[in-house]
Symmetry: C2
Subunit: 708 residues, 2 copies
């Protein structure tokens, strides 16, 4: 054994562990249901590598010669499943190095999940594993199962792997992993891998995603996540999975606690932590779901179909009632069911019976019972429609043969339609129903991607698929922004900083004489406002430091003099930079743009309409920074009050592109200020016809929240 | 046969039809799959009445002596299933009277659903049935099945009835009925009746609901509805079902078309037809659902549980991960998971292992595996909590025995918990799973109400159950309002009419001299507005008929004179009633209150916040009239901008009760104006601290929309 072999914390250690050729069952005994289940799983999967029971008493266990210690095995072991009492866990881990073990699976609970003392024990455990050069899965996990290579290291009974797996499961909760696996099996959705990461003392969700991204043929990954331990690595792993063509679907719990916990300043308090996670999903192209059903059905659909090139969905059913239900449901899922093109209608009229009406959704009526070839013909005709990107055919695949062979005939026609279809085509059941071996084989044999999720769930999954595909198409590299050193604090400094990043800001020179104020006001051509400029004065209005609606040289000059006098009297100590002269703005649509910093995910930007929209309705759209113009445009579209931008009560429409550019620039200006910036807020960003302008700017800095 | 017996359109005709003791299969032949299926269903159900095949050729059909005509049977027949060609349908119906037939089932399609010619044929058919004194189900239906009395009249194969039925299905679409029945069977949810009403040429959804309400032990009715043909009878039937203790769950399609079709004036255009149907559901205590799964799972849950006395839900699971998913899901469903009371926590600590934390949801942890009696103890402890009204226990009932009898042991404990529970207690699966005969029997035998819908669907159903129970508790008789004859058109008339119904309206006497204007203004103590009062002038401002912000006797008098001069010059033809003097109001929160008239459901009332809230965000709450104060308060709560009423930016809070009273009064004022009123709009209803006041009132009348 060389040093290199022995140092199992090498890049290939995870691959040795997750695709093992030798598995040690440490603490194996026929009296333990865990040991028996783990061994039985290996046999049931047909594991072809070496299985080594380890027990100090030696002898024959599970019909195999047991080693008396892990070190006594005498050859490198890819993975050791530790089923030993907690008291001997550390010693056992210490032994692993000498035995050349790549990875250890620790099932025991009672560590970090129980509190501080447990967390301490877990740290000791992790240190021991590091010391031993061994990767560790757990503690408090159920292990993993590699279905592709017939290698389960899992202590609850598992079923034999199914053919054509496309889905990998990664879960921080062992019981949720089991529920997902059970549900996937019930729907005959084959898994490539299932990894229960437990407390993640060493191997975490990011490692597992990265491993699947690199080493698995899975086309989709479903995650159950409670906590993300290494945000940057997690994001990188999800990105890598996407680049490897694998969709990532995430069921993240804790959504309901978010608002309560979000006690952040300014923009952060408007938004809450959970929406930041949704913004992360948006940024990474990760699909966020909220139930086990939605996770598995969505991941399965995307695994079977992959990316779709156009957003329009066409549905075909054999019942008008189901078409009607589908139409309503599609609207709820924001799925477009486009009207069919004229040439498609002509093609359909040529094949449909007289009493059927070509439309989307298409009700084939009882006609398909009499003339099953209608099915293939309709699918093919619709697949040529230029407005459609995905076809769904609604039919329940039976769980056994029917006496008259109806179903087999229909499936043959659907298969012919899928084969002739120029578009991705999915078969889905009417309502939710399990899929058994017979129905899955019938679908597979006819080349049909089938989901038993029913209209309700599959339309939700299709909505995810269509949005995910659209986002992939739109994905643009976002530019990195260089850091600056200056820390703008004063209003004028903030506006100048924004202007340097391309944000149009209201003119507002700081003048130091009445003459200069008059000259500045003349150049603005209209009424002006004067505001005292002082780094020491926060609340200008209260000491007479603001004068509004001034017109004409005399009024401006007088106001300048009067203001300086008032302020000096009220605050003789304050440093006075001068007086800001700004044009009065009163017309237009007020936007709110503010950035926040999430402790996990970094800077984010929120956009809303001003006033009640943001403050009462919390109607904001959120993205992680940096963003592109397209992102900003979509943020404006997402606002509930979005139509206000199109002109309300005769007001001119806002130039959305100009607004989007300003929003992107505000984001870049915030990024340039580095991680100490908690918040950069522009409120309002005033949009009038042809002009977008930041009227006010504010920064809040780390350790400085009370100040703002 | 007496005349009375012969007149089968008597009150008991439907009961004879739907609980038949004699069934004629007209057009029976062993060569028809419909005839065979209908007969087989009767045999499979164990129908104990008389089955009479009818075929002109006579002979033995389905092993029975066939009658050569319906008239030849020689004794009254409760129901005739007509499987004859359309050409002989009218003749056959004509024969039914002489045969003493109570009801006929007509399966044939090709009637009103195909267009005008079909509608004409359908009318002829209906007339023939009326003429023959026979009730008719269909055409274009699949028949009905009475599972309780083992009487199916249904031409697709059905399975044998299951024990303990609680659910009745009524569907206008035969295929949706079959999907619902299939789904219910898959979940082993037993049906009492299934009625496919088809085109409803005679018997319609209202008849079917009424029948089930009166004659069935069903505890819930699930409806699939495309069109409601007799709105008043439908509403009465749903109300009758509610009084008979039966919940009504409705899947109504067409939601997505509603906005496009709603081309109504004023308030109607803000709201759309589909929201009126939701308002009807609210009024009738009917539960609106959007998928087959949601319909069946909700109706089943309510059928098993009935009404709940308190809204709080407690959940118990055997996994922390599932508890977390449940918490997020409950928030989405607006279900309260209250913190447990201190005494409940104490009780739970006494039974739980140390490492389990008493909380809601309660994670029993693996402790329940070691000590199953935990299950019953926990359910019982939680059932005594004063904040909880419903308990859900999350556990998958297995579909077969497990070797070690774990599941049976758990089910025994859950059953003991249910028996000891002071609250309704439901068992639900983790994720969606089918329920087979074994699992249903295991649940039933242990006295457990079980749903295989999984957290995702059962929490949705629980949300419905809890809201429905709450609405039942709140139900108040709404007062009828007497009609008045006068038709207020002028602004002052409308405000006076509102005032008569108790709506506080802004003072605004019509004066006819400058002196009177000055006197009126003095009494208002502040700035006033003058507005020309003329039935002939719609657009006052344009001809100088409005003057705002007038202070002092001189200004008021001058404005009066100037206005009269301007208006007389501009519109010498117009009748001038005088000038309205009203106090200026500028502070406060603007509410919008408008009524509309739905062609099906009559007058409805919408409430919103003024300005952008109504016009951009369409943020309104809608109810059918009349409403109670409680309804109006809930409408205010439902607004997305509701928190604006609590005071925004330092504005005083709106007196919600006073606002609610004004809203109720506006509704009553509208009802008093009868069916020609399309719209009564108060915009704004201005709410300031301690004062609610209608500032403007408008009516729109039938055939007068263009005028407004």
């Amino acid at each position: 054994m060389t040093d290199t072999e022995n140092n199992s914390r090498t890049p290939n250690a995870l691959d040795r562990m997750f695709r093992p050729r030798s598995i040690a069952l440490v603490g194996a005994t026929e009296r333990s249901i865990w040991s028996v289940a783990a061994y039985d799983n290996l046999v049931r999967f047909g594991f072809t590598g070496r299985i080594i029971p380890v027990n100090p008493k030696g002898g024959t266990i599970h019909g195999l010669q047991a080693a008396t210690s892990i070190a006594a095995v005498g050859e490198p072991i890819d993975v050791a499943l530790l089923m030993v009492p907690e008291a001997s866990l550390l010693d056992t881990i210490g032994d692993l190095q000498a035995a050349g073990v790549a990875g250890a699976v620790v099932l025991s609970a009672g560590f970090a999940e129980t509190g501080a003392a447990g967390a301490q024990r877990q740290e000791t455990l992790a240190a021991a594993a590091r010391q031993a050069g061994v990767r560790m899965l757990g503690p408090n996990c159920l292990g993993f199962a590699n279905f592709v290579d017939a290698a389960p290291v899992w202590t609850n009974p598992l079923r034999r792997p199914m053919p054509n797996p496309t889905l990998a499961l990664i879960s921080q909760s062992g019981s949720v992993a089991m529920q997902m696996e059970q549900f996937a099996y019930q729907q005959r959705i084959a898994l490539t891998h299932m990894i229960s990461t437990g407390n993640e003392a060493d191997i975490n969700t990011a490692d597992a995603i990265e491993y699947i991204a690199q080493h698995s043929d899975a086309r989709a990954i479903a995650l159950f996540v409670e906590t993300i331990r290494q945000p940057a690595r997690f994001a990188a792993a999800v990105t890598a999975a996407g680049k490897a063509g694998k969709a990532v679907v995430v069921l993240k719990v804790g959504a309901s606690e978010a608002s309560a916990k979000a006690a952040q300043a300014h923009t952060g308090s408007l938004v809450g932590n959970d929406r930041v996670f949704s913004a992360l999903c948006e940024k990474l192209g990760m699909i966020r779901v909220f139930s086990i059903e939605e996770a598995v059905i969505t991941a399965d659909l995307i695994g079977r179909i992959g990316r779709v090139n156009r957003p329009g969905l066409a549905l075909i059913a054999m019942s008008g009632g189901m078409c009607e239900i589908a139409t309503d449901q599609a609207e709820k899922e924001a799925i477009s069911l486009p009207a069919l093109a004229e040439e498609t209608l002509v093609s359909l009229r040529n094949v449909l019976p007289d009493y059927a009406t070509p439309a989307n959704p298409l009700d084939l009526t009882g006609g398909a019972m009499l003339k099953p070839e209608l099915i293939a013909q309709s699918i093919e005709a619709i697949s040529k429609d230029p407005g459609i990107g995905l076809i769904g055919y609604v039919f329940d695949v039976p769980g056994k043969e029917d006496a008259r062979g109806f179903a087999a005939r229909f499936m043959k026609e659907i298969g012919a339609g899928v084969a002739a279809s120029a578009l991705p085509t999915v078969l889905l059941s009417n309502a939710f129903m399990p899929v058994n071996g017979f129905s899955r084989a019938l679908a597979d044999d006819n080349g049909i991607a089938y989901s038993g999720g029913g209209l309700r769930h599959v339309l939700t999954a299709m909505g995810h698929l269509l949005r995910w595909s659209g986002a992939l198409a739109d994905r643009t590299e976002r530019a990195a922004v260089a850091r600056v050193d200056a820390r703008p604090v004063r209003e004028r400094e903030v506006l100048d900083h924004l202007a340097r990043y391309g944000v149009p800001v209201v003119p507002g020179p700081v003048v130091t004489s009445a003459e200069a104020a008059v000259e500045a006001a003349r150049g603005m051509g209209g009424a002006v406002a004067l505001k005292i400029a002082s780094p020491d004065i926060q609340h200008k209005t209260e000491i007479g430091g603001v004068a509004l609606g001034l017109s004409g040289d005399a009024e401006v000059a007088a106001a300048y003099q009067a203001m300086l006098a008032r302020v000096k009297a009220a605050r003789p100590d304050a440093r006075i930079d001068g007086v800001i002269v700004a044009p009065m703005r009163s017309q237009g649509t007020e936007l709110f743009v503010g950035t926040m910093r999430d402790p996990h995910w970094g800077p984010a930007i929120a956009v809303g309409l001003g006033g009640v929209f943001v403050e009462v309705l919390k109607d904001t759209s959120l993205r992680l920074l940096p963003i592109t113009e397209k992102d900003a445009l979509r943020m404006l579209d997402e606002l509930r009050g979005s139509s206000l931008l199109d002109g309300f009560r005769g007001a001119p429409a806002v130039d959305r592109l100009a607004a989007a550019r300003a929003i992107v620039a505000i984001g870049n200006a915030a990024l340039a200020l580095g991680p100490d910036l908690l918040c950069l807020e522009v409120n309002p960003l005033l949009a009038t016809q042809g002009r977008i302008e930041a009227l006010d700017g504010l920064t809040v800095w780390e350790n400085d929240v009370g100040h703002a």
